[in-house]
């Protein structure tokens, strides 16, 4: 049945198209919910509320503030407005619907006030960092994030965000350090390995490590487009410089392997276009790289 709550797929965080699809169904889903509320108690499951949360995020991204408000109300009805996660979501909602700069400043003050009462409110701490970042106060965001990580050093998400912030400020060695910390927490995440490889490649001093991290990322996930893309780029750059400790022949083979796999991936994903819609830009980049070599 179209539009039923169980139909919601787990959508990719950065996938705008499926977020849009989901948000378009929001009124139906929420309408159905209010009808069936009295009849079924079985809807009260963790999955159900996780989906409502997802719906809230999708609605906010697509500008459907009314549905977002309805989702938020439903969540805070169930878990109470003083739940940390609900507080974080409410903050997110207020930030997203803020009209101008001063409204955002007001959000920031609110966060500060909440944090003065409960200093370890993680969702609010993170919202504060994100808000500082969107207010273009990157150095404040970095110091807030460092403070957060000092207290909670086992949060991979926060380390990744810190790496991103550092990189945006041009501090690559700090960014590399932060990503390494994230990898220490989640050593098998191929995307972070590939990202670290990218940072090392951009940094330029440690091309060998870059190649190694791309290789590791491929070893963990053997059709990861970004991994192959990076491997091809990094190994060809190394071939140009020819000063690493990886033998030249191996580099040639790595490059050839990367190009071969990229070709295969591009071919198979171009056929099945709809399914890979979210990563279309990556595909285009890969095609461009293939044309270059």
């Amino acid at each position: 049945m179209a539009g039923s709550i169980s139909d919601i797929r787990n959508i990719n965080g950065s996938d705008l198209i499926s977020a849009l699809h989901l948000a378009q169904q929001a009124p139906t889903i929420l309408g159905q919910e209010s009808q069936s509320k009295s009849s079924t108690a079985s809807a009260d499951t963790a999955e159900y509320y996780a989906r409502i949360e997802q719906l809230l995020l999708a609605c906010l991204r697509t500008g459907d503030d009314q549905s977002a408000q309805a989702c938020l109300n439903q969540l805070s009805l169930r878990f109470g407005p003083s739940n940390e996660r609900i507080m974080g979501l409410r903050g997110l909602f207020e930030e997203a619907t803020a009209k101008d700069h001063s409204a955002l400043e007001k959000c920031l003050q609110e966060y500060d006030q909440i944090l003065s009462q409960s200093p370890v409110n993680v969702p609010i701490l993170k919202r504060r960092v994100a808000l500082l970042r969107s207010l273009n106060r990157s150095s404040d965001a970095i110091s807030a994030l460092i403070q957060l990580l000092d207290a909670i050093p086992t949060d991979a998400e926060a380390w990744c965000e810190l790496a991103d912030l550092y990189q945006s400020q041009g501090l690559s060695s700090q960014a590399i350090f932060s990503l390494e910390e994230a990898l220490l927490i989640a050593p098998n995440s191929w995307n972070i390995h590939a990202r670290l490889g990218e940072l090392l490649y951009i940094d330029g001093d440690a091309l060998q490590r870059s190649v190694q991290h791309f290789s590791r990322s491929i070893e963990l996930c053997d059709d990861y487009l970004r991994g192959f893309y990076g491997l091809t780029l990094a190994s060809s750059r190394m071939l140009e410089k020819s000063n690493g400790s990886i033998p030249k022949q191996t580099l040639e083979r790595l490059k050839a392997f990367g190009l071969l796999k990229l070709g295969e991936i591009v071919k198979s994903r171009s056929v099945d276009d709809q399914h890979w819609a979210s990563s279309r830009s990556e595909l285009i980049a890969a095609k461009e790289l293939l044309n270059r070599f």
Partner: protein
Amino acid sequence: MAVQGVEQTILRDPALFYWILFPISIVMILTGILRHYATVLMNSTPRSPSTLAESRERLALLRGVNLRNNACSVLNRESFEMRKNYMISGFRSGAFLKDPNNRGQPPANPMTDPAGMEAMMGMMKGNMMMMVPQTLIMSWINAFFSGFVILKLPFPLTIRFKSMLQSGVMTRDLDVRWVSSLSWYFLNLMGLQSVFGFILGSDNAANQMAQQMGMANPAAMVNPLQPGQDPDKLYLNEAENLEVMEHFCILDGVEERILQNFAPQGI
């Protein structure tokens, strides 16, 4: 001794079945359900740290463990040595402690420490939940139903089962297949787990639910420290573990490895 080969027959009043076997089973099931809901009701979520320093004290240990476990798949020698030295000196100097000044003093009495008190109360509540109903029901059964033989098992058993199946009935010659009321209670006590699983849903789904939303950030809620444990000792221990670590890295030779494992022949 019971005569071999001759079936013992005991004439039982069928009322025994309705008035003893049945009530005991029903009461046991009901108390089980009641206990489940009482546990859900009294379950206190693990307390989240109240200050940033407290959170750090808890999680620094995990960071050390993470470094120890995962360094080999991420770090090269240089950055590994750097992190190792940082963690060891931090652990040694007590930089990660909640208040480094209190270092070396005996841990606070868990009775006076509110956090420890809470944890102990939690444990106590759990134990009481089990103890009180059991004591009550056991004494109820002892008072009303002791000494009845209420059931005959349809299969023969060895003599060892006598103490298990016939507690409360001191008859030496009785065949092991007869079950006394008190033993029926014990059998119910131990054996109803799967029935509860069937009735309440497996693994007490109700009480996980409330926590899931509360766990905004699971990483922040983990507490490796038991109440009353001295974090400083754990830190020193962890520092020692880190110190004996040798560096090796699975990234060495990963290029050759993927070429061998994933690349087609002839590249």
